[in-house]
Amino acid sequence: MSNKILVAIDGSEGGKRALNTAVEYAKLTHSSLVLSYIIDWSPYSFHTPEELAERQKRRDSEIQRANDLILNPEALALEKEGLAVETVVRHGKIAETLKEVAKEYDVSQIYIGKLGESRMRSMIFGSVTAALIQTALLPVTVVP
């Protein structure tokens, strides 16, 4: 079994708390961390031709922003503390994509915050965390 922990962060307070909890655990067990930022995206949405033409550009800037503003600063800080850290940015449905990343990076468990979604949103679309818990094949730790 691998000694890797996947942490879902999104720049929110909840994500930060999940990361802190995961870091404590990683230090105790000498595990390495995979920090992931999933950008909510669906291949089945509708756009104007102009938006399509700009899409590539927008995607690149979304990925860069996630790396520059969230993933890289966290990773850098953790590496200074002596932890082994990888980062990954993906587009997709959040719960589904997290599972794909977990498989791809061969992690043994997932840490996620009770994401900062509005109550309205999770009532309509269901909560990402709940979807992940229900369908994941790995231990998932939800940090409040």
Partner: protein, 499 residues
């Protein structure tokens, strides 16, 4: 800016009666021009008593050739097209890029327009029930043309330094011919096409749409808007203006989201209406088949029905015109062939599904009551067919027509813009000039009558299929090579499904 237009409208309202004559004046001025352009492009040769416009022959021969040359890709590729749209072959790592579904949806939004509702009625009025049969045949053949042009669109698309992409016939004509050692000719063809799509955008993608939207509104309003086309035109132009110049993207985004649902809503109700007239259905279908080969009561007989059907099909699904290739070229893929395969679904959805359904609604109504439309033409005729079953239907239909027209106008404003920027470069000032011209034509479309509008827009759009299809012939071997290599790699398992 929008407020300004509203204000203008309010100021002019009291003088409206004085200005009611404006429509007629402008109409009289444009009709002869339309007739002239129509005559040149639709140069007709008499064949066995029917008048065959050469340009229609050009398109159909092209579609037949590509169907055989690509060994029935329109039928062979169908299942694979659905797999691609479903994302079976999409690498999760490339998520966030334009998906096959998104490109298809955008291209379909651009083609599903008033033509699907009104154009079919025109075809049935002029070409009889049999025109529907040829419309479907043209749709099936058109799938092959779409395959070729959309594959090329992606293959030769241009990526700019800032990351935005431009593609379409003008780029593949220029680059493709240059690759075959005919750089000068390619340049000429690219420019020819760019001019054509720019002018065509003002017709098929603009005036025809706004005109039919106005006719619909007027019908629903019970003729209260007679003579006020200029006012409706001004308002429509203001909304288009606010989207393409004012940058109020939210309006466009909302429309893009509603249009697919409207299309589904339209189809569901159409099927319900057909089922309510199910007694007339066998006769309506029989009329389509017999009309196709006898052409009873149609000028030029069966051939006349065939010509009208082909003409309306191409006008509706735009295969051979190259417009969809512009929308599809935004997709980033290592396999341009995949985009071509996906695009075969467009004529299928647009012509084979939606147009056929409309034709059956009209056909069953005709069987039940030959004079149901009371002489109404275009969208109004379709509306009357629906109204027989649902008296309230004209209102939502008018709304749907308005949205179809609007989304087609937005898509085409972009296609035309790409022609413009190809010709005049990417400068902001130039783009704004183009957009202003586009808005002016939106208003103009509501003012002139349907006849001349159809002539102008048909003529201008068909004109650009000349360089496009000529280019497709030259570049077809490249597409065929890519297609064969692609299918061989699917077969060998080199290209794998991700799902």
């Amino acid at each position: 800016m929008k407020k300004l237009f509203l204000l203008l409208g309010l100021v002019f309202l009291p003088f409206a009666n004085v200005y009611a004559g404006i429509d007629e004046t402008i109409n009289n001025a444009t009709a002869p021009i339309a007739a002239f352009i129509g005559k040149v492009v639709f140069f007709k040769v008499p064949v066995f008593g029917a008048q065959l416009p050469l340009v229609v022959l050009w398109l159909v021969v092209g579609a037949v050739f590509f169907t055989f040359y690509m060994r029935f890709i329109n039928i062979r590729g169908f299942k694979h097209a659905i797999e691609l749209v479903r994302g079976d072959y999409s690498d999760p790592k490339s998520h966030g890029e334009v998906s096959h579904f998104q490109a298809l949806a955008t291209a379909v939004s651009g083609t599903v327009g008033i033509g699907n509702i009104g154009g079919v009625a025109v075809a049935v009025t002029v070409g009889g029930a049999g025109a529907t049969f040829w419309l479907i045949v043209a749709g099936i053949l058109g799938m092959s043309t779409k395959f070729v042009e959309c594959t090329l669109g992606v293959k030769y698309r241009q990526e700019f330094e800032d990351g935005h992409v431009s593609g379409g016939p003008m780029y593949y004509l220029r680059q493709g011919f240059s690759d075959r050692g005919m750089a000068g000719f390619g340049k000429f063809m690219g420019t020819f096409y760019a001019i054509g799509i720019f002018i065509g955008a003002l017709g098929i993608g603009n005036m025809f749409q706004s005109n039919q939207a106005y006719v619909q509104l007027n019908t629903v309003a019970g003729g209260a808007l007679d003579g006020f086309g200029w006012l409706v035109g001004l308002i429509l132009a203001a909304v288009v203006f606010s989207v393409i110049i004012g940058g109020i993207k939210s309006i466009a985004r909302v429309t893009e989201k509603i249009v697919p649902f409207m299309a589904i809503f339209y189809c569901i109700f159409a099927i319900i209406v057909i089922l309510m007239n199910v007694g007339s259905l066998p006769q309506a279908i029989a009329n389509i088949f017999t009309g196709a080969f006898t052409g009873e009561g149609v000028a030029g007989g069966a051939l006349g029905a065939m010509i009208i059907g082909f003409q309306r099909a191409v006008f509706s699904n735009e295969a051979g015109i190259g417009s969809a290739s512009i929308a599809h070229s935004a997709v980033k893929t290592n396999e341009p062939v995949t985009e071509g395969i996906v695009s075969v679904l467009e004529p299928f959805i647009d012509t084979i599904v939606i147009c056929t359904i409309t034709a059956l609604v009209i056909g069953t109504a005709q069987v039940a009551d030959p004079n149901f439309a009371n002489g109404a033409k275009g969208v109004a005729m379709t509306s009357a067919a629906f109204q027989r079953e649902f008296s309230w239907f004209p209102l939502p239909l008018a709304f749907a027509a308005l949205l179809f027209a609007f989304s087609t106008m937005i898509s085409w404003s972009y296609y035309g813009l790409k022609g413009w920027t190809y010709l005049f470069g990417e400068s902001e000032k130039g783009q704004t000039t183009y957009k202003l011209i586009f808005c002016a034509f939106v208003a103009l479309g509501c003012i002139v009558e349907l006849g001349p509008i159809l002539d102008i827009s048909d003529a201008l759009v068909f004109l650009i299929c000349v360089p496009n299809i000529l280019g497709l012939y030259f570049l077809a071997p490249i597409v065929k090579r890519e297609m064969e290599s692609y299918f061989a790699r699917i077969e060998s398992g080199e290209i794998k499904k991700f799902k």
